[in-house]
């Protein structure tokens, strides 16, 4: 029991376990699910969500939030589509998307970290602005007709049926995860979210860290837009609406606390897989996709409620133990 508890304390491992349990249940109901290609497909199809979730994870770990990632993705996707229509190269698309993500991230970071506007509100405002820009750039029309090498590229597989896209994403996730947990400045993100006053006191550049988090978030969101365009072959003007909520839910499912200071990128990536494959799994179980949202909602609520109750219980127990120890003199 104690081993299980310790295991659960490493949050991303519990998320992984949760994912495994989901797979197992699906397979039990429908043994046809247990093929390698089915399971791999779950990961392959989560490219967009993984990028979004990992990106916003940076911001959430610092204790803030970014709801503009959906519209950022939509903007980048529309522009990537337009570039593809003109037969432009990959390199150019990546450059454009990085620039877009960078600019949006800088604006968000400035508003939240420098001006001190509450992050939910500020990024809410920038969402509207970016959405508006999507209309301006796309002329209010769906961007399409850019199929070809662009859309085919990502679905080509490398090895073990893992697509090129997912390979790239995996590499990115692993690299950034290591950077975040092993380097000195990587740890700043979590530190800022854990205790911002304390971080200031030991010289961590809090404002800069938050701005970097937003910039990274914006860039990841923009790149996910390129992946989105490549995957679907068309980008309508409301593309990405609601994706931010799923990305945030993915982070929560992956063990990242919305109040900051807890969690890591591996968890975000796993949470993204969970969120993006629910509908797919439901199909195997035989439930119509109508159950998607209901199940996502139940999952999300159950997990956060259980987590909150457990944390509360342990904090309360610790407090009472301390008090009792003091009173009976066995403290110190």
């Amino acid at each position: 029991m104690k081993l299980i508890k310790r295991f659960l304390k490493i949050r991303w491992l519990s998320s992984l376990a949760f994912l495994a349990v989901m797979f197992i249940i699906t397979g039990l109901v429908n043994p046809g699910f247990f093929t390698y290609s089915n399971i791999i497909e779950c990961f392959n199809s989560s490219v967009v969500f993984t990028l979004l979730a990992v990106g916003v994870a940076f911001v959430i770990m610092t204790g803030e939030i970014d709801v503009s990632i959906g519209s950022t993705m939509g903007l980048a996707a529309a522009i990537a589509g337009m570039l593809a229509q003109r037969g432009q190269s990959w390199g150019l698309m990546i450059v454009y998307s990085i620039v877009i993500g960078l600019l949006i991230g800088l604006v968000n970071g400035y508003g939240v970290a420098v001006l001190g506007v509450p992050s939910l509100i500020f990024t809410l405002g920038t969402t509207g602005i970016i959405r508006g820009l999507v209309y301006v750039f796309s002329g209010g029309k769906t961007t399409e007709n850019f199929a070809g090498t662009f859309t085919n590229f990502g679905s080509q597989t490398l090895f073990g049926q893992i697509t090129i896209y997912y390979t790239i994403v995996l590499v990115i996730v692993i690299v950034t995860h290591l950077l975040l947990t092993q380097t000195r400045s990587g740890k700043y993100f979590i530190a800022v979210g854990d205790n911002v006053g304390g971080a200031t006191l030991i010289g961590i550049p809090v404002t800069a860290t938050k701005i970097v988090a937003y910039v990274l978030c914006g860039i990841f969101a923009a790149i996910s837009g390129v992946a989105f365009a490549s995957k679907y072959g068309q980008v309508n003007i409301v593309a990405g609406a609601g994706y931010e909520m799923s990305a945030i839910a993915a982070c929560v499912l992956g063990g990242i606390s919305l109040s900051g200071g807890q969690g890591n990128l591996a968890g975000a990536a796993i949470g993204a897989v969970i969120m993006s494959t629910i509908s797919r799994l439901l199909v195997f179980i035989g439930l119509s996709s109508d159950f998607d949202n209901t199940i996502k909602g139940v999952m999300l609520i159950s997990i956060v409620v259980i987590d909150a109750l457990m944390q509360r219980r342990s904090a309360e127990t610790a407090r009472r133990e301390r008090l009792v120890a003091r009173a009976s003199g066995s403290a110190r």
Binding site: K187, L201, A318, R319, A327
Partner: protein, 521 residues
């Protein structure tokens, strides 16, 4: 004792003169927030091996000054010299590299990280090297910590110690300690003083902020008193005594009131029933507490921080579960009542933690005063009657001499003393039969303290029962008709008026047996 340090300073910056270069020199620091001038031309000196006690009331500017030295705020004017070199402390990281480290009043650790991660956060060195240095520092100090424990599981005292280790690992030469003992138990304070002495021997200069005058004489080598943004007294501790320090804290022209106060009424213990009675009450943090409070009596509850007094009263007030025993109010059993019911029954409580539990900072003074009265019919049947609220509030504003610009003023913008008066006003608004005041004069200036004492005595005249928890023995000596001491969660002594002395209170607070009536420990 004027600010004549500046003359000394002008010579210390030049190495050619015979004067020694101070570790830290602060000259002419001025800072205002908007129109509020918080620091006015502050001069300060600190040398290695010195412990400079910095005392001052709320709003005196101590915290602001420390944040400026730590690079978190920037002064409007003035210069800071570290080891004789002019240093521009525009960021915390600059201050840290200059060898300055601040241990905040409440430890600012990262709760979700381990102790080791907390201490080593922000360092450039190699992990192994760092860990070895950390181990050697801990060995020197003689502390044992499981470095893998999460910071959230540590007690406040342990967290304070971790903060200090952080500073030591950074080879801090100037350590700022902001009320480090306010949350420590007695043993921890002793061990803490030992550490301070060792730090001194290493040549580290310490600025020690405290509200406890006794600590000045226990641990400090020098003392500076701040009031209203200026330094009123400064010099080696040996030059001062208690009265002079208190004098420096009071506004000019005020006369120290005579400590002895004539009892005008005496309580007839034989024939009156206690208003409030605890019978063998146990809860989280306290055991088997029995006491009585009589109408028109002030019962002082002494003890050191962490003895369990606040836990006791907040549990009775409905904030935690009562595990055993009975609570009686005028004979009626109110054990286990919720806060709302306790208030209605006739008890009210001025919390120890004014900021987090007492004050609605961005609410008006009116709203603050009537917050416990919302059930009351007087405030209106369906809707609240602002006039009634204001009238009730005004009674307290006038009676307590609370300095406000208007009842709409936000409570958070008042000075500490006035804030406390507002909270006390609320606690009396429900016309309780017994009022419990927990550290009522902590962190407020001397003038406000006198006013609060007057309020308390006034209540006594009216026949209200009063229970005062205080770590300030002088306060209990001054006010209480009877006193009990709590040690490690239990009452271990009870004293009648003539026996309430510093010695008795101190001894029993620290768990020693004394003459006089004593309850079994």
């Amino acid at each position: 004792m004027a600010n004549n340090v500046s003359e000394v300073a002008n010579t210390t910056t030049s190495t050619a003169s015979g004067e020694s270069i101070k570790l830290l020199s602060v000259r002419g620091i001025t800072k205002s927030f908007g129109t509020n001038a918080v620091l006015k031309q502050i001069d300060l000196d600190l040398d290695g091996g010195e412990v400079l006690a910095l005392i001052g009331g709320n709003g005196a500017g101590k915290s602001t000054l420390m944040k400026i030295i730590m690079g978190i705020y920037q002064p409007d004017d003035g210069k800071i010299y570290v080891n004789g070199c002019l240093t521009h402390l525009n960021k915390a990281s600059v201050a840290l590299s200059a060898g300055i480290y601040m241990v905040p009043q409440e430890p600012m650790l990262f709760p979700n990280m381990t102790i080791e991660e907390n201490i080593t956060m922000g360092f450039q060195e190699h992990k192994q090297q760092l860990r070895m240095r950390l181990k050697s520092v801990m060995q020197e100090i003689g502390w044992k910590f499981d470095l893998n424990r999460k910071a959230s599981t540590l007690s406040i005292a342990e967290q304070t110690l971790v903060e200090i280790i952080r500073g030591l690992l950074r080879n801090a030469k100037i350590l700022i300690l902001d009320e480090p003992t306010s949350a420590l138990t007695f043993d921890e304070v002793e061990s803490f003083f030992r550490i301070v002495k060792e730090l001194r021997q290493k040549g580290i200069g310490i600025i020690y902020i405290t509200h406890r005058l006794s600590e000045v004489f226990d641990i400090a080598t020098h003392v500076s008193i701040m009031r209203d943004g200026i330094i009123t007294l400064h010099g080696p501790v040996s030059d001062f005594n208690h009265e002079m320090l208190v004098q420096g804290l009071l506004p000019p022209g005020s006369v120290q009131k005579n400590k002895l106060f004539e009892q005008t009424t005496s309580i007839d213990y034989e024939n009156t029933q206690p208003v409030f009675e605890l019978q063998n009450v146990s809860g989280h943090g306290f055991n088997n507490i029995s006491l009585k409070v009589f109408p028109g009596e002030i019962l002082g509850v002494a003890g050191v921080v962490g003895a369990g007094r606040t836990e006791l009263v907040s549990t009775i007030f409905g904030r935690d579960k009562i595990l055993h025993g009975r609570v009686l109010l005028n004979g009626k059993d109110i054990t286990g009542y919720s806060t709302k019911k306790v208030l209605q029954a006739g008890i009210n409580y001025v919390p120890e933690d004014r900021h987090n539990h007492g004050l609605f900072k961005i609410s008006s003074i009116t709203a603050n005063t009537t917050s416990a009265l919302l059930e009351d019919r007087r405030l209106g049947k369906l809707f609240l009657k602002p006039k009634v609220e204001q009238a009730i509030t005004q009674e307290f504003v006038d009676g307590f001499r609370i300095k406000i610009a208007g009842q709409d003023q936000l409570a958070g913008s008042l000075s500490g003393g006035n804030q406390q008066k507002v909270v006390i006003g609320r606690s009396l608004s429900t016309k309780p039969k017994i009022v419990i005041l927990d550290e009522p004069t902590r962190g407020i200036d001397a003038a406000a303290r006198r006013d609060v004492y007057g309020i308390i005595r006034g209540l006594r005249e009216q026949g209200v029962a009063i229970l005062i928890i205080s770590s300030d023995m002088e306060e209990i000596i001054e006010l209480a008709d009877r006193a009990v001491t709590v040690s490690q969660g239990s009452i271990n002594a009870e004293f009648w008026k003539k026996d309430i002395t510093q010695d008795n209170l101190t001894a029993s607070s620290f768990g020693l047996h004394v003459k006089g009536e004593a309850h079994a420990q």
